[in-house]
Every structure is written in structure tokens, then in C-alpha cells.
Symmetry: C2
Subunit: 196 residues, 2 copies
Amino acid sequence: MISNPLFHLKQYRIILGSGSPRRRELLKTIWSDFTVSSLNADEDFFERDTPEEICEKLAVKKSDAYTGSFENNELLITADTIVYLNGEVLNKPANSEQAIMMLQKISGRTHSVYTGVCIRTMNRTIIFHKLSNVTFAEISAQEAAYYIESCKPFDKAGGYGIQDWIGMAKIENIQGCYYNVMGLPVQRLYDELKEL
Amino acid sequence: MISNPLFHLKQYRIILGSGSPRRRELLKTIWSDFTVSSLNADEDFFERDTPEEICEKLAVKKSDAYTGSFENNELLITADTIVYLNGEVLNKPANSEQAIMMLQKISGRTHSVYTGVCIRTMNRTIIFHKLSNVTFAEISAQEAAYYIESCKPFDKAGGYGIQDWIGMAKIENIQGCYYNVMGLPVQRLYDELKEL
């Protein structure tokens, strides 16, 4: 049997510091031996920061919220995904009205999705981000209402999930990494973990 | 309850003419009421044809293999996906050696994935294709061997699945439609079905 190319990770106790079930599923595909700890940090950011800075700083903030020591070879992975359009960060919609407003904003346009990632061990901190651009077709009022009622996208930045009905039916084009839009830039993360 | 935006499809008996479990899953997301019929046609093509022509003609060939009548409002969907690199079509690998050779070819390069689709009813035939470009990082011999052993990609054009380990760990960039690379350009199909 050929070993997983990330076999050297066996030496670490890996912790995914995220409550997102999507990040859990994605990480599992490249390395299954990890525990999950939902690290909560406020998601405030400076308006003058660039989207690259915002997503990286929020990933670091979540990492800083970890209260364990790193003395037993812990390796902590945290991430933050932001949806960015015309200089504005679209957060998670609090209710249907906000979700409808977000879908109206991204309808017929290209927006950017940035995921910042922080990998931390006792001796090292690696921070990076990945950008993907996503182009939606025009979303009708009926389509927005149907999506929000059937998928309830209230835990998703920008009010949509690329793996949901709306991602399949209404995304015309993506440029970058699909899994980055889901919440974790798996290819880049794999590369970084391979070099550890 | 808000109805599915494709509600008018209720008037048809929809048949997906494909044995691919991935196409079945993708179609189900936009419309769940269909039956599956695995239509087999030879996958021969003319070398002088363009990739656009090849994938569309193969989708039509599968449609032509349907032996039922269209008299009871049947609507038949067939599709064919080809992987194209440097003027060559990469088919499904017959064994591990062929799969390794294909992964060596796509390693560190950008290739094109074309899916041709044919929608047929008693009165109409709609044919289209969608192109997506996929860029792989360099794939090492160990990575290729690990992937082939763990995922056995022998039913996949080009020897890989974008939703598999290798698609997550080794695809740097995609430009186009992710679901097209999986085997069905869902957004474009949704648009065509909506206009029916």
C-alpha cells in the first residue's frame, strides 16, 4: 500500500480550529487524522485593510483564540473566508432580507472570494491566502427566494454556498480554486503541509 | 412554498441517458424527477474534428442510441465529456499504466475539458458544449501512484476526477464551470431547460 504523501504529519496532533462542516469534509480528503475545535473570535476588521489583509488577520485571530499550549506537537489550522464586491465585504446574512439583498448584489456580476489560512505549530506560523473570482448569471427574485427557502444560507459569507443549488444553477464561471470558495484552499494548504 | 424554477418540466418524462453516478447527482440538484437509462454508443470520433465537434457529436450519438419513442412527452438528456491536451483527446485509462501516463501528461500543465450535451424532445433537439480549463501542479510519481491505488480512476476521462483527492490536492486553478469538469455543465443546462 502506498502511503499518503502527507505521511510525515503523523508526528503532529492536528487540530482544525473551525466549526464549518465544509472545512472538515475538505481537510478529511487530504488528511483524516485530526480533531475539531470551534475557535470563536470576533470577526471585526479595519475598513482600510485590503481583503487580503482582512482574511489573513481574521484567520490569525481565530488561531490566537486557541487556549491550549503547543507543547505536545500540536498543529493548528484556522481559516477565514470573505466575499468581496466593489470594495465591500459581504458577511453572513442574519435573515432572509439580508440574504436577498446579498444575492441581488452578486447577481450578474463577478465577485472575489478570499480565504486566509493560518497554520501554527510550536516553532512556526505560516499565513497565506488564496483568491478565486466567481461570476454569477442574473438571479431572478423567484430564484433568490427559492434558494433561501430551500437552503437557508445564513451561515455562509455572501449568502450562498457554491456547492448548493444556486452554485450549480447560477454560477457561470469560476477562476481560481473551487474549494477555496467552499472555505478552504485545499491545494495550497496541501502544498504548505507537504513542505512542513 | 416556492416552486422550483424549473417547475414547467413537470410536463415531461425526463430521462438521463448516462451511466455516470456523478451526472445523476448533479442533475438531481436542479431537478429530481427523472429516470436513468444507460445509453451505450461507441466513442469513436474523427481525428480531424475539433474538440467542440467531438463532444457534441458523441452526445448526439448517445441520444441516437435511445430506442424509445418520444411520443409520451419524453425529454432525453445525454452528455459526453472529453479531456483535451495538445491536440490529443485523453480517454478513460484502461489500466494503471495508462492512468499513470495520463497523469504525467496533465502534470504541471493546463488542459481543456469539454462537455457536449444533447437535449431531445419529440419536436426539438438542442445541442451545446461548455469548455473549462484546468491547471494541475506538478504531480510526483508517488502522488500519481497513491491516487490511482486509492481512487481507481478508470471510469474517468483523462484519468482523474476533480472531486477526488487529486482534484483537491493538485489542481491549482480552474477557469470555467467546475461541474462541467465533473461531467455536466449544470448552469448552462439549467438555462436551456428553463427556456424550454
